[in-house]
Symmetry: C2
Subunit: 384 residues, 2 copies
């Protein structure tokens, strides 16, 4: 373990080109301390709030928050985590009961209605989560008109490096977020574009278009990105699991197929999602046989949460899907996931119906570390 240098003396070059002192807020714009300090697989956290009485570190790699220690020398609160496994990690501090990001980092992720500071411990699968010097695809925030909903809605789309330099057609993966997420979840929390860039550059995944729509019918776009304004973010948007989204999904496919250079057969089309997005993927693929050749259910909810035609006669639909041009039905879940039993029952039904599937069980529960991992494992199986 190397010694961290906590205090980064940001050399504001007063002799530099522009007169720094008169720039708006510039005194605020460079941080005086570096936290977290990642050295190999050791991570040190420092918080300069000497008057706090208790500071907890709540990290997504720990079952429980841990108390940080206050040092006499400077009153800062410290904590060292050692031997972290490779991965993307998020955390917050809880200062006398108030949850906050690390004031010493600008690298944040929003998960539902809360910001988290994040960092990456490289190595292993996490090398696919880190931006590498490889050709990069384009990530776009784009709007389409939903005739079914009667308003414009936003989606995120990834087009692989080289898309704009030729005329070839590409396969398409539709990648769906979970409850509380939106069209930014996979690209931000999931690091989907980074994973795709790295797998494609390594020759481990086919170049593909990835479409990440917004699965909350009541939303036009992510919080802060629509005419709703800067509203508080709620976990459970209405109109998510009532069949509306699943039954109107064809209009998204139509939009993509008429605006991007896509192959339009099941052999070149995949759908996958996490949690509620797995639920959506399960019902959309079952209701649209011969549309998707590849289906991925990541920690998926399975049992119908509402009443709608898309949820009816599901076993017959699964049989029909199986008899169509289906190449891969991939089910992944963590051993501690609260949806484990729903997924187990689905597997039993599929087996009883002699519907083939591949099952991947990881450790841990219903969390992003699994979903990044599942995406990294799922992509290489597509379109080959």
């Amino acid at each position: 373990m190397k010694k961290c240098v906590h205090v980064l003396y940001v050399v504001i070059m007063l002799m530099s080109a522009l007169c720094v002192s008169a720039q708006q807020n510039v005194g605020d714009k460079s941080l005086a301390m570096v936290s977290p300090c990642v050295t190999g697989d050791d991570v040190e956290f420092v918080l300069d709030m000497p008057n706090a009485r208790q500071v907890m570190l709540r990290g997504d790699w720990m079952a429980e928050p841990v108390a940080m220690q206050q040092r006499d020398a400077d009153g800062c609160w410290y904590y060292m985590c050692q031997d972290l496994a490779p991965g993307v990690y998020t955390y917050t501090y809880v200062v006398d009961g108030t949850t906050m990001i690390d004031p010493s980092s600008v690298y944040t992720l929003r998960d539902v209605g809360q910001l988290f500071t994040y960092f990456i411990v490289g190595g292993g699968v996490a090398d696919y989560y880190m931006i590498q010097d490889v050709p990069h695809g384009t990530v776009s925030q784009q709007w389409y008109h939903s005739a079914a909903m009667g308003y414009d809605r936003r989606f995120t789309v990834y087009t692989p490096a080289g898309y704009d330099d030729g005329d070839r057609l590409y396969p398409v993966l539709y990648l769906l977020h979970g409850m509380g997420g939106d069209e930014t979840a996979w690209s931000e929390l999931g690091r989907a574009a980074v994973i795709l860039d790295n797998l494609i550059a390594a020759g481990k995944a086919e170049p593909m278009i990835v479409v990440m729509p917004n699965g909350n019918v009541a939303q036009q776009a992510a919080p802060g990105s629509s005419a709703r304004g800067l509203v508080p973010v709620v976990f459970h948007e209405p109109r998510t699991c009532n069949g509306e989204y699943e039954s109107a999904f064809g209009e998204i496919i139509d939009y993509i197929d008429t605006h991007y250079r896509t192959y339009r057969d099941a052999g070149h089309r995949a759908i996958a999602g996490l949690s509620m997005g797995g639920y959506h993927s399960y019902y959309i693929s079952a209701n649209m046989p011969a549309t998707f050749g590849y289906v991925g259910l990541f920690s998926a909810a399975i049992d119908a949460r509402g009443k709608h035609a898309v949820y009816e006669h599901i076993d017959a639909k699964l049989q029909q899907l199986q008899e169509s041009d289906l190449r891969l039905y991939w089910i992944a879940i963590g051993s501690d996931d609260f949806l484990y039993d729903e997924v187990r029952l689905l597997r039993e039904r599929l087996s009883a119906m002699q519907c083939p599937y591949i099952y991947r069980e990881s450790d841990k529960g219903h969390q992003w570390s699994n979903w990044r991992l599942y995406l990294t494992e799922f992509l290489p199986m597509l379109f080959r």
Copy 2:
């Protein structure tokens, strides 16, 4: 002034579709308090840190930070700002000396190396800064290969609503950020896409492509978005004002003209930038006569900061630019801007050379409120 409801009881529907309690971190994911609370032009700030000894509110609308008041009832720190003019505002709290965003908001902007919470007071020009129910353009993060630099670099591009639905050609604005900024500055801090959507929908600006490159030659992309990783952000990247960027700008234009449906004449091409981006715009346009028909210098640095051929014989180049297909030379600066005298001397030189320009002087200084305003005023003058 209406009474704000501070405490939003986030109804986590335990009876809802997915089992909320087992979702990762979900207790953290919805905020229990709303701050800032914007009611018309009044804004109330609340911070729940009862053990702090002093809390300052540092807002970009105030000359100096103000002390927040601690209420006996709940120990929270409060401050009320009344009669704020329409605009986008950013702020931080300084809690016993430590600067932090508002823990009760997820709406942040990064300016150089610091996060700020932001909010919007609507009305007047700020209605153009708020997302409205109008057709929305696409915002993309895209990479091109810089032959001059020898590596891939990222830019942000806005294509207007309808771009993907037809074959027509579009004019292009190249919009450049200031020192400490990057290819995300105009789209995030500047709300460029929102302003464009609103002006185009109102018929006040022509539909156009807007290209927002990264003006820091030493950077491939914004902090956190390149293989550099999650590095501390510095204000003054090297290789920004030494002629490298200006002299290689043609490769960005070539990339756009070969990858987007553009008109390729000066009458359909504009360049503008703020501060260092104004400096870049000034020298790029002067060195590439007959390339840009419209030039916008927003709070621009003018005097050469380095030695390079692009900075030489500037008056002769300005004359040549004037004699080419130039339709608008627009200079804007705030009366309190530290670059005011550089701009005044430029105006005097232009006048002496009988080079026409339009001058716009606003109040205030070197700040985003001016740059959003200038963009909103500049766009309607282009390509008409």
